[in-house]
Amino acid sequence: MNFSDQLEARFADMLGHYPTKRSVLVPFLLYTQDELGYLTDEAIEEIAQRLDLTALEVRNVISYYSMLRTRPAGKYNVQVCTNICCLLRGGEEILEHARKKLGVAVNKGISEDGVFSVEEVECIGACSWAPAMQVNYDFHENLTEAKVDEILESYRKKAQQ
């Protein structure tokens, strides 16, 4: 299968950075996920082949890291932290609110229009500004329910552009 030229270039470059081929696996999985939205069966086979691994080994690694996924997420993946600091400052309520607002019942579920998905995550390193959440790679801190509404609205607008 073919990846974008940009990703191919990145892959070629990364190969030179590590002593063994298989070390490229984790970063490459992440970049591939960014490009495809999630790690498809096809991508897994391809990556396994390129790195002389079995598809099983690639899946073993994917399943180890919660940030890697084999199912699609929304265009904007809302990751709400409920670890200790956020929990103490209302993280669970924030998660509940986001879910209700977007109509997403289960963990890692996707909203009907496919724009959002909601995921409960462990500490994202923003404890000082808890409660916090991450939408794709962007951080949002010191959250309140109203602030969450605002943030989600801005993403919805972005999605419509």
Partner: protein, 789 residues
């Protein structure tokens, strides 16, 4: 050879001991009889340190240490039973049991489960966990492998044995921590070699087999150690049997006791392909053909008919008008008896069998060059191995296992010359791919004919590759040379001549469980047992007290030719299907009187006039010789009351023909005890004596159906078979040597060698009637090779 490692002094529980540097603490403890409990540690596999059951206290180390990953060090003082250790074991078990379903009453492993044993020995009586256990339903991953997730204790033995041991890499670990789960390579199912290694290595009942699960409990079976009936590698297998309506039913085969050459290895056939024994289509009654249809008959009727006909033919048309075809799957004693029957009772040398390797040429080469044969054990120990032809992964799974593990654990060198990119090349130091059918030319090249190189070169085999290989081989001492049926006749001599000066040992690969035995026992029209020509018949005549017929007999193809020409009037086929193996015309069998001894209605059996239902290897005792020459004893495990062993059938026919069976089977010699056959005042004592013998694995040699009496005779006559019988009856393998009795030139017929071409999932007639093998093949997509670690 490297110098022996230094010994270091350690103290365990107050006992002083020494162990070679590098020894793992857990092994050092075992040496002095101190058990350190373990789950994830498994000798021969990589270290895991996952289960923490083996924690021990080591002086000067602040924390408990895992004995399975800690090598001994000078002055180490260890306590394996301190209060801290005992407490931590209890805690570890409690954690393991926290999510364990404790369904021991229905679990296959119940009664032979390591977790049960550990809990019994080291566990706590109460569990503090009150949370609900997480449940997942049992999954079927293949016809063979089932997985019950909640029972898994995450020791990763299965993952390692499949990858490191089998080089299949079909099992993995997914998720992490408490949520870790063993996963198959195709997400919801397995595509693998179906060996069942993962199942038998699992300490608990998490991996179970399709053929055994929920069938019985371990303590309801008798466990009988015997030799695998499939390929020629000679794995020991422990057969679990249980009473049934028709005798003793075989419920499972495994080798968990690690007995034999194979340790705990068995391939899919040895472990699961015993089910043909209970196949509905098995013939369990003698059948006589009347008006073109098979009609059931009694044994007496059938044997009388066969004996009468054989006698008639011999009297009317002469012994040359009768032919005998023996088997690659009957015991040495049966094969030996059969050739004796042909030669003495029928008076003909018309005896042959389906040849799958040129063993006569091999015997000749070995004796001419004063070379030796290698045992299957040598393959695991040799510093270097050369393999020419064959595909052991498919045809000799134990051999492949031995080679792989020798490379992995001993870093042995391994050279392959093959026309195909066989899977074992993944372990090879050097792999040279030559054109199809060029194996003989390669040997020619080895022998110094540089011109031959020109006909061998192709992509993957340059002139340089070839010379490199030859030079490397010349530098290897104590090499083991293994070759397939691609090499025959003079090529074998040339190969032996090339490597013999380097103290090499050799293995000639034949198919089926006892093809080597069939050859060693003289199922040849022109060779007596031990590859002796008729020029050396005097020894045999002396032992047998009868003359060996002078005329060289017909080989298998000639017999069929004679049948076509109307010259062959009777044919006796024992455990063989020549019609199919040699693609012969069954029509020619219409005229002669044909007797077939078999389990199933084969292409040959259909053409028979009488079919005699035979017992197979697991239903009788005797010996097998593996393709390497390792002699091992079979023990009767299963039983189907209405069939008879080939041995008994042959003796009965001889007896009915009026032959003195004492001349055929030297039973009763040297033993005068009453074994309880005569009931009288002393019968109790006789029974006790008999019980004593049987408890020691010895059989009273007082019956004409006793194969051990024949083994005595074989050992007297065939020099290479002069091995310890005590060792054999104790279940050990004894390596026989190919010792040629006289220096006559041995006739060789390379053209009669027809390899069986069995794969990992086929096994001649037996395989066709194995439900497990058939279902595995149905589900199997064209297997693609996977990346190795």
């Amino acid at each position: 050879m490297a110098d022996a490692p230094k010994l270091v002094n350690i103290t365990v529980n107050g006992k002083k001991t020494t162990a070679p540097a590098g020894t793992l603490l857990i092994e050092a403890c075992k040496q002095i009889g101190i058990e350190v409990p373990s789950f994830c540690y498994y000798p021969g596999l990589s270290l895991q340190g996952a289960c923490r059951m083996c924690l021990v206290e080591i002086e000067k180390m602040p924390k408990l240490q895992t004995a399975c990953t800690t090598p001994v060090a000078e002055g180490m003082v260890v306590n394996t039973e301190s209060e801290k250790v005992v407490q931590s074991r209890k805690a570890m078990l409690e954690i393991v049991l926290a999510n364990h379903p404790l369904d021991c009453p229905v679990c296959d492993a119940g009664g032979e489960c390591e977790l049960q044993d550990m809990t019994y020995t080291y566990g706590a009586a109460e569990s503090k966990f009150i949370d609900i256990k997480s449940h997942r339903d049992e999954q079927q991953w293949s016809p063979v492998v089932f997985f019950d997730r909640p029972r898994c204790i995450l020791c990763y033995r299965c993952v390692r044995v499949c990858g490191e041991g089998m080089d299949v890499w079909a099992l993995g670990v997914q998720n992490r921590g408490q949520g870790s789960v063993i996963a198959p390579n195709k997400q919801d199912h397995l595509e693998c070699e179906e060996c069942g290694m993962c199942i038998d290595i699992c300490p608990v009942g998490a991996l179970t087999s399709g053929s055994y699960r929920y069938k019985t409990r371990p303590w309801e079976m008798n466990h009988v150690g015997t030799v695998c009936t499939h390929c020629g590698d000679g794995c020991l297998t422990t057969v679990g049997v249980r009473r049934s309506d028709t005798g003793m039913e075989i419920v499972r085969c495994d080798n968990r006791d690690k007995s034999g050459i194979n340790g705990d290895f068995l391939c899919v056939k040895g472990r699961y392909a015993f089910d043909f024994a209970a196949n509905q289509e098995r013939i369990t009654q003698p059948l006589i053909k009347r008006d073109g249809k098979f009609v059931p008959a009694t044994w007496t009727q059938a044997i009388e008919l066969v004996a009468d006909k054989f006698k008639q033919v011999v009297q009317k048309d002469g012994p040359q008008a009768i032919g005998v075809i023996g088997s690659n799957r009957t015991t040495n004693e049966e094969n030996y008896l059969l050739q004796k029957f042909a030669r003495l009772v029928l008076g003909t040398n018309n005896i042959d069998h389906h040849r799958t390797a040129d063993f006569p040429a091999f015997a000749k080469a070995i004796s001419e060059n004063k070379a030796r044969t290698a045992s299957m054990r040598d393959v695991f120990e040799a510093p270097a191995v050369l393999l020419i032809g064959n595909d052991p992964t498919e045809q000799h799974p134990l051999l492949a296992w031995q080679i792989r593990n020798n490379v992995r654990l001993h870093r042995s060198k391994f050279y392959i010359v093959n026309s195909q990119a066989i899977k074992l090349r993944r372990q090879a130091t050097q792999f040279v791919q030559i054109p199809t059918g060029a194996e003989a030319r390669f040997v020619d090249f080895l022998s110094g004919n540089d011109a031959a190189a020109g006909t061998l070169t192709q992509a993957g085999a340059s002139n340089e590759n070839l010379s490199q290989l030859r030079d490397a081989l010349k530098g290897e001492q104590n090499l083991v040379v293994i070759f397939g049926s691609e090499l025959r006749g003079a090529d074998i001599s040339a190969l032996v001549k090339f490597a013999a000066p380097q103290n090499a040992k050799f293995i000639c690969l034949g198919d089926y469980a006892n093809s080597r035995g069939a050859a060693d026992m003289g199922l040849f029209p022109d060779l007596l047992p031990g590859y002796a020509t008729f020029a050396g018949a005097a020894r045999y005549q002396q032992e047998w007290g009868a003359d060996v017929p002078a005329l060289v007999g017909m080989d298998l193809k000639q017999m069929f030719g004679a049948a076509r020409d109307g010259k062959l009037k009777a044919l006796y086929v024992v455990g063989s299907n020549p019609v199919s193996r040699y693609a012969l015309d069954p029509f020619v069998l219409q005229a002669p009187f044909v007797v077939v001894q078999d389990m199933f209605m084969t292409e040959t059996a259909i053409a028979a006039d009488v079919i005699l239902p035979a017992a197979f290897a697991y239903e009788k005792s005797g010996t097998f010789t593996s393709t390497c020459g390792d002699l091992q004893m079979l023990r009767k495990a299963g039983d189907v009351v209405s069939v008879k062993s080939d041995f008994e059938i042959v003796v009965r026919i001889a007896e009915k023909m009026g032959y003195d069976v004492r001349k055929l089977v030297p039973f009763g010699k040297g033993l005068r005890a009453d074994m309880g056959q005569s009931r009288g005042a002393q019968s109790g004592e006789a029974d006790r004596h008999s019980v004593w013998l049987q408890a020691r694995g010895l059989e009273p040699k007082v019956s004409p159906f006793d194969p051990l009496a024949t083994l005595d005779e074989i050992q007297r006559l065939i020099p290479g078979y002069d091995v310890s019988q005590i060792n054999l009856v104790s279940g050990n393998d004894e390596h026989t040597q190919l010792v040629q009795i006289q220096n006559a030139s041995i006739p060789s017929h390379p053209e009669l060698v027809v390899p069986s071409n069995d794969t990992l999932f086929t096994s001649g007639t037996l395989g066709r009637y194995s439900t497990v093998l058939n279902s595995v093949m149905e589900r199997r997509a064209t297997g693609k090779e996977v990346a190795a670690d």
